[in-house]
Amino acid sequence: MADLQIDHVTKTFGDTQVLKGISLDIADGEFVSLVGPSGCGKSTLLRIIAGLESQSSGAIRIQGQDVSGVRAADRNLSMVFQSYALYPHLTVAENISVPLKMRQLSSLQRLPVIGAFMPGAHEKNAEIAASVKHAAQTLEIDRLLNRKPGQLSGGQRQRVALGRALVREPAAFLLDEPLSNLDAKLRVQTRTEIAELHRRLGATFVYVTHDQVEAMTMSSRIAVMMGGEILQCDVPDEVYNNPLDIRVAEFIGSPKINILPVEASNGGLRFGDVVLPTVAPKMLKGPIRIGLRPEGLRLAAEDAVLTGQVMHVENLGSEIFAQINLPGHDGRITMRASPAQRNSLHIGANIGLAFEGRAALLFDPNGKRVFNPQVDPVQSEVA
């Protein structure tokens, strides 16, 4: 168990800069997700932490010790790969035992056939077998120990890959999109299991994913990466409710946040001709954008702020998402409704929408967050 420090790490491939000075402190026992769209550099960052790739500049510290130049095998980290990377010729038990054998047995003791007769090999092999069994029991794969990876389902392979990572006690676990090859149902189940595993082990986890739901549900903190930078790193609640950048707001949350172009003047906001109930900081002028979460919108009759036409309805059973076309705005906005409101949300219906002034997130023309004076008067004055 250890803490990790990523200090101004950059990485360039030829002319392209993939990582633009990433800094991140990960405390001991924390579960940090690196989330972002594909190509944002999150996997590269993880591989740099692992030592499978070297950074162009900056430093990685594990428990305060700079590991730049230390090779992957000596960094004492465990990694779960997206493809699981199980050795196809070894059984499950042998796969899980590889990290222990490589570290605990001498090269003579690892020799095939005669290695088992080397002095001390018997005791060590017994210890390793016990550790493998324990890890397998933890993951409930002890019945599969004699099978080969080719005979396992995707979910079982994923568990074996996890087993291989947790059979020893590494400084930290690195997981590279471990759920992306599973079907939706299994993904939800395994998500819970990995989160529980983290609680039980109390170890440091760095988890790379492009799926914001995974990041939201499992992490102690989320680092949203885009274009080789960390845009925001905070607890899931804060990242969702208080995105500091419009790209973060758009990436986190499903369905996506609604972005509306508005005009700010004299502390008020207008969408087309409509005056919005949101107050803007006085100095803000000209075109800006606001973000409204689908759950921040509600159906309204007399006090409607916006009016539009229902174009499409998605009924998920426990909730309904309606896509609404606003006149004078290209692109639809999404609102969440309860099943009880189903009748008023048929396709083609003209409806009124309202929202609380404080529900709107304000973004300046550069996409940076401007604090809403209704929500946080102190921060808005600073801004």
């Binding site: 591989r47 692992a50 030592g51 499978l52 090779r71 992957a72 095998a73 000596d74 980290l77 465990s78 990694m79 790969f81 997206q82 493809s83 990377a85 199980l86 050795y87 196809p88 010729h89 070894l90 590889v98 990290p99 490589m102 570290r103 090269s107 080969k148 990876p149 080719g150 291989r164």
Partner: protein, 320 residues
């Protein structure tokens, strides 16, 4: 559910029709296989129990006499020794060198392509033509090999016993020396064959999953050797079985170098009298079809045995 219930007469009819079509479609291939593969094998098998000569109208059954001679005559003892010496030397060396070259080329960038071409050249060249080049190079007095060796005379290299003896008396006759002839043949066999194995291994190496090397590294495999043992070698298992079998069969079939060097009979003191050459000499040159067929059948048994081992290995050990 009872399956029989679904079998209405129509279905049965359709099934037999389908079976018949299947037989019709395979018939041409089957006919050809029987005609050009099985029939000659059977004929060779039958002839191996006779004293038939080409041109004769009749023949006599001689029972197992031909086989008896194969296992008692000293000429055939030399044949077996030469053949197995060649196989046992050439197969491991050409497989090992092929693998080594493939690994080295695989670890290189673009320059690897040049080496790939160089090592593959002997495979593409006609061995018969190459044999003439080798014959010149190995000529005892004007050959390049002995000329080069002579250059070491009078230098520090003379502390090597082989060179010391060579300088004091003479360097080997190579193709004319019964102690060296088979090894020269082996050397040419390895030189000619390993490029082919290298290409097969290069193809095998492309199928090794790169992430496995990273997994091995994370698991604590520090040296290249450990990575090779944990990832590369097991992944090349199917390739290795194929390469070894092919190399064995090719080694059993060695003929053209020997025919080119010693058209009159299997090298000095029959030290390079390999099976293929024996078949050619007995069956074609001396028109002793019976004994020639017996050697052919024995040859077939060896090759079949190797192929069966390969099938067994492919299905059992290296399959995952």
């Amino acid at each position: 559910m009872d399956i029989d219930e679904t079998h209405t007469p129509n279905v049965v009819y359709a099934e037999t029709a389908q079976h018949r079509t299947a037989w019709w479609l395979t018939a041409p291939a089957l006919c050809l296989m029987i005609l050009i593969l099985l029939v000659p094998v059977v004929i060779a098998g039958i002839l191996s129990f006779t004293d038939y000569s080409l041109g004769n109208d009749t023949f006599n059954w001689v029972g197992a006499k031909n086989y008896d001679r194969l296992f008692s005559s000293s000429t055939y003892e030399k044949m077996f020794i030469a053949t197995f010496t060649y196989v046992v030397t050439v197969v491991p060396l050409s497989v090992g060198l092929g693998l080594g070259a493939a690994l080295l080329i695989n670890s290189m960038g673009r320059i690897g392509d040049i080496y790939k071409t160089i090592y593959f050249l002997p495979v593409m060249a006609t061995l018969l033509a190459m044999a003439i080049a080798w014959e010149f190079m190995l000529h005892p007095s004007i050959g390049m090999v002995n000329r080069t060796l002579e250059m070491s005379c009078g230098t520090v290299l003379e502390f090597i016993p082989f060179l010391k003896n060579g300088c004091a008396e003479r360097f080997p006759l190579w193709l004319g020396d019964r102690d060296y002839a088979i090894w020269v043949i082996c050397f040419i066999g390895v030189w000619q064959g390993f490029g082919f194995n290298m290409v097969l291994y290069l193809a095998g190496l492309t199928s090794v999953h790169r992430e496995l090397y990273h997994a091995a590294e994370m698991d604590g495999a520090k040296s290249a050797w450990e990575g090779f043992r944990l990832v590369t070698w097991p992944a090349l298992g199917p390739t290795t079985v194929f390469v070894v079998t092919i190399s064995c069969i090719r080694a059993f079939q060695v003929f053209d170098t020997i025919e080119a060097f010693w058209p009159q009979g299997g090298g000095p003191n029959k030290s390079t009298y390999v099976m293929m050459f024996a078949i050619f000499e007995k069956g074609i040159q001396q028109n002793l079809i019976g004994i020639g067929s017996a050697i052919t059948v024995l040859f077939l048994v060896f090759v079949m045995f190797l192929t069966l081992i390969q099938r067994w290995l492919v299905e059992r050990k290296v399959h995952y």
